[in-house]
């Protein structure tokens, strides 16, 4: 039980213990709860940072014990898991700060923060999972810990959204369990292994393996909100802003995408998946999702619903990136996992700010918001341009690498998809930017709240600004050693090396 085996467990425990302690806290223990929250988040970042540094040096962090006779519980920190773990650790700290400000005087916050840190613990678990069994374990825990957050407000609408969310995710979970069990039965307990397991598998297994792949993707697709399975995401927007920010920008949606990455990369292996012709189908679904998500986003009046549909299309980028089979395309897909997380969380923070400070939920009420809340609006504009893929921001890096990756592999229609979706992004983001800056405020804000000198409370203002700066840096300094792009190149290099 050397330190290197316990490190992943510590990372997991920080938020697990935090959630238990927070649950026990009485409702009015406000200050203590905030301190615990922030301390846990900070500690987690430190731990993940150490692991990232270690993995870069090639150290191996692994913790395993067999939980059920035939399957074992494995926590392993490899390059890919550090990508997702790093992202969620960082954004958890920011979202905690945001949530503390957002839920200033609302009821049952202990319950909220308890489930909040439980949810991040399961996200961390998903990132660190070493095999499909452990992955599934945390995947389902994520569903359970997010449901109370979605229905936190208790309004009938929230409850309906929660019910809908459950129907989707639990069914997805059941399908995923079926697939994992079948795979487990077929080939035994598979650890995630760079390069995947089925490179030289004998053709007789191709039939069942394809069906299992489809089931796996459907199960994971529910959370990754691929088109036919995305119904729950827009409705889950009824949740409070920090929930929709962390969950639908980082935790839940990315868990699905991350799962798909794990399956295609480290269970099947790219060559095997290509040999079995699985990637083209997946690419088509992803492309359709990208276009469908963007077009639906065009017609949304509510700001957060528009962002939700934009998330649906953006996450499909990651999946599309995977199917580009070449190293460049895959790098694009993976790096988008981080970039989209940062960009989307900025947008959700700003949407939350508008809702909390000005009581604005609809886009047409946003006129002149730029003047009233310049800080938030600058962050929103940067986020919007990032999503459109305008250079020099992070979105451009993704589109650029994916585009060149697609061309390298000869899938030219992918470039067309990228271009079309950028146009659609522009079509639904630029009008908002226009309303923010260039439209005059012609009617009073629905219910405005003043915070003295600052445009909104410091807790609410700083997170979007920080994430906006992060996004710009991720774009501009893409080639700096520990930037998302170079870390992904490290992953792909290790992946391809095998």
């Amino acid at each position: 039980m050397t330190l290197s085996t316990l490190m992943p467990v510590f990372a997991l425990l920080t938020s697990l213990l935090a959630s238990v302690v927070i649950f026990a806290l009485p409702e009015r223990g406000y200050r203590l709860r905030t301190v615990i929250n922030l301390a846990a988040a900070g500690l987690k970042i430190v731990l993940v940072g150490v692991m990232i540094w270690g993995v870069a040096q090639g150290r191996e962090y692994e913790f395993a014990f067999n939980m059920v006779p035939s399957a074992e519980f494995v926590l392993r920190a490899d390059a890919l898991s550090m990508l997702f773990a790093g992202l969620s650790a960082l954004l958890w700290l920011l979202t905690t700060i945001y949530a503390v400000g957002y839920l200033e005087d609302s009821p049952n916050r202990s319950r909220f923060f308890g489930f909040f840190s439980l949810c991040v613990a399961s996200t961390m678990g998903i990132a660190l999972a070493g095999n499909l069994f452990t992955f599934f374990l945390f995947y389902e825990m994520l569903t359970l810990s997010t449901y109370p957050l979605v229905v936190h407000r208790g309004t009938p609408k929230a409850l309906r959204a929660g019910r809908n969310y459950l129907v989707y995710t639990l069914t997805g979970g059941a399908v995923l369990l079926l697939a994992i069990a079948w795979l487990h039965g077929l080939v035994g307990d598979l650890r995630f292994q760079e390069g995947g397991h089925f490179a030289g598998v004998d053709p007789s297994l191709h039939g069942p393996l394809t069906i299992i792949f489809v089931l796996l993707i459907t199960g994971l697709g529910v959370k990754a909100a691929l088109v036919p399975l995305h119904g729950w995401l827009p409705q889950a927007m009824v949740a409070p802003a920090p929930v929709s920010a962390l969950l639908h920008a980082v935790a839940v949606v990315k868990a699905g995408a991350f799962g798909i990455i794990r399956v295609v990369f480290e269970v099947y292996g790219l060559e095997a998946a290509e040999a079995m012709g699985l990637l083209t189908g997946l690419a088509l679904v992803a492309a359709f999702t990208i276009i469908y998500g963007s077009t639906r986003a065009l017609y949304q009046i509510d700001l957060k619903r528009r962002l939700a549909f934009s998330t649906i299309s953006q996450v499909a980028y990651i999946v599309l990136g995977l199917c580009l089979f070449g190293p460049l395309g895959v790098t694009g897909g993976l790096v988008h996992l981080v970039h989209q997380g940062i960009m989307k969380i900025t947008l959700f923070f700003c949407a939350g700010n508008y809702a909390e400070t000005l009581g604005v939920h609809r886009i047409d009420e946003l006129d002149g918001a730029g003047k009233r809340m310049p800080g938030t609006s600058v962050a929103f504009t940067l986020g919007a341009f990032g999503m459109i893929g305008a250079p020099p921001l992070a979105g451009f890096i993704t589109k650029w690498t994916m585009g060149s990756g697609a061309l390298a592999v000869g899938m030219d229609w992918v470039v067309a998809v990228l271009v079309l979706s950028s146009l659609l992004n522009a079509a639904y983001f630029l009008p908002i930017v226009h309303r923010l800056w260039f439209a005059e405020q012609h009617q009073a804000w629905p219910h405005e709240r003043r915070w003295g000198r600052l445009e909104t409370s410091a807790w609410l203002l700083w997170p979007p600004l920080i994430t906006a700066v992060l996004m710009v840096l991720a774009g501009i300094l893409a080639n700096v050693p520990f930037s998302p792009l170079s870390w992904v190149e490290l992953i792909v290099a290790r992946e391809a090396a095998l």
Partner: protein
């Protein structure tokens, strides 16, 4: 050392039954706490002994098998004894606070409680067919007594219906025992198994096994014969219904499982196994569907028991005509399912009791606003629900995983559907309750807050059921210990 433990295990519940009979409720409560502690220690000791050096046969009265009665103390039995100790202790502790001491008839609660516990221990350890019959009777009558304790017309009607079903079941079982005794001349299960393996088998005897399984299925409320369970478990007091759902129903299943594992190979047939499995499957679907539609909270939990029992009967098809490894895996799965269901169901009933006591009505839609003012009980209800759904990291999930593996390995893929659909349906009715409690229409706190310790007990049980998922390995290791017959007198 083992002799002392065995004697203690058999003696304490009966002695405490008599002791508590002589005293009133309040003094009985104190005596019971002591008794529970002793029983817990003894069970743990026994579990440790078996864990270290394997199972053994315990000859009652010193007489050899065919003549006297022997108790088979192997891994499985001891695991169930420990489970009973844990769940019964929890329910007893909860009942001691929950029941109103001033009511005159509650003084008779403790004797019945201890007799029930004694009956359960007799069944887990029993190795003799007729002895199992008497054990079953002991449990049934004690359970009926508990259900009818102080009840009104509905409670009595449920008790009578329960008694009738139980008695018919026992008689069917007894008829089977009579036939087997007629054929083999010995009553000890081990003896019959030995004879079956060695001598040729007359074809006709499968009717006896069918009869016994039919009787036991009726007592375990398998699908077509589940009519008596929901009223009985629904109307009884919460600690009582927790005991009934978690343990009593499992006793008859335990005997059926033992019979099937020992005699099933020779006397059973593929068609019979699949039929029982099919009934189990229908029970899962039908039970969950009815649970979803119930108006009263305790009825929801009762029908959920009917559904979960359906899972248990998947053992029959999964252990018939399959390789030993798969059969072992199926047994491990079912044991985990029994244990996690017992813990989760007990937690669910106890927390449901708390919720009903605080809300003042046992209807589901009366739960509005509970999530804000009484989150702790609701949270333990939720956790128990999670284990019923078989979502990770609970014990339910580990059980479902093993059953999935077993059904896949044995090629009977159709059980996958039952397992997965069951999980989803149970999610439906658990979250329906959750959703009702999340509705937030009142700001005033008009709820009666039960005492802290009442809420802690279901939480402990729920956490145990949750922890079971992570600790599945050691628990199962003891269960599947090889059984060395004949060691120790």
């Amino acid at each position: 050392m083992t002799l002392g433990l065995m004697a203690g295990l058999l003696f304490t519940p009966l002695a405490w039954a008599v002791l508590t009979l002589l005293v009133d409720f309040r003094k009985g409560r104190v005596v019971t706490w002591l008794g529970m502690a002793v029983q817990m220690l003894v069970s743990l000791g026994l579990w440790a002994v078996v864990a270290s050096d394997g199972g053994f046969l315990y000859l009652l009265g010193g007489w050899q098998a065919p003549l006297g009665i022997e108790l088979r103390v192997d891994g499985l039995a001891v695991t169930f004894v420990l489970l009973t100790a844990v769940v019964a202790a929890a329910c007893g502790w909860h009942a001691s606070i929950y029941l109103d001491p001033d009511k005159a008839w509650h003084r008779y609660f403790w004797p019945l409680f201890w007799f029930l516990w004694a009956g359960l221990n007799a069944v887990w350890l029993g190795g003799d067919l007729f002895n199992l019959y008497v054990g079953l009777e002991l449990i049934s009558l004690a359970a009926v007594g508990l259900v009818a304790l102080g009840g009104q017309a509905d409670a009595l009607r449920a008790a009578i219906r329960y008694l009738m079903a139980a008695l018919l079941g026992s008689l069917a079982y007894l008829l089977g025992v009579a036939l087997i005794y007629g054929q083999f001349g010995t009553l000890s299960l081990a003896g019959v198994t030995a004879l079956l393996n060695s001598a040729e088998v007359p074809a006709g005897l499968s009717f006896a096994l069918v009869l016994m399984l039919l009787g036991l299925a009726l007592k375990t409320a398998l699908f077509p014969m589940h009519g008596w369970l929901p009223p009985a478990h629904g109307i009884a007091k919460s600690p009582v219904s927790a005991l009934l759902s978690a343990l009593v129903v499992k006793a008859s299943f335990y005997i059926a499982a033992r019979l099937w594992l020992d005699l099933g190979g020779h006397l059973g047939s593929y068609a019979l196994a699949q039929l029982i499995g099919a009934l189990g499957g229908i029970a899962v679907i039908w039970g969950s569907w009815l649970a979803f539609r119930q108006v009263k909270l305790k009825q929801v939990v009762a029908y959920s028991s009917v559904a979960q029992i359906g899972y248990l009967f998947l053992l029959f098809p999964l252990t018939w005509g399959v390789s030993d490894a798969i059969s072992l895996q199926a047994q491990q799965g079912i044991t985990l399912q029994v244990i996690s269901h017992a813990l989760a169901k007990a937690a669910m009933f106890l927390s449901a009791g708390n919720l009903i006591m605080s809300v003042g009505s046992n209807r589901v839609d009366a739960l509005a606003g509970v999530s804000r003012f009484l989150p702790f009980s609701l949270f333990s209800f939720g956790l128990a629900g999670v284990s019923l759904m078989g979502l990770p990291p609970t014990g339910g999930f580990a059980a479902k995983w093993l059953l999935l593996q077993a059904s896949l390995a044995s090629g009977q893929w159709w059980w996958l559907g039952v397992l997965l659909a069951g999980g989803l349906l149970s999610a439906a009715y658990v979250f329906r309750v959750y959703q009702a409690s999340f509705i937030d229409d009142t700001d005033i706190d008009h709820f009666f807050h039960p005492s802290r310790s009442l809420e802690v007990i279901p939480m402990i049980l729920a956490l145990l059921s949750l922890g079971l998922g992570l600790m599945a390995e050691p628990v199962l290791s003891v269960m599947s210990l090889p059984f060395e017959a004949g060691r120790g007198q």
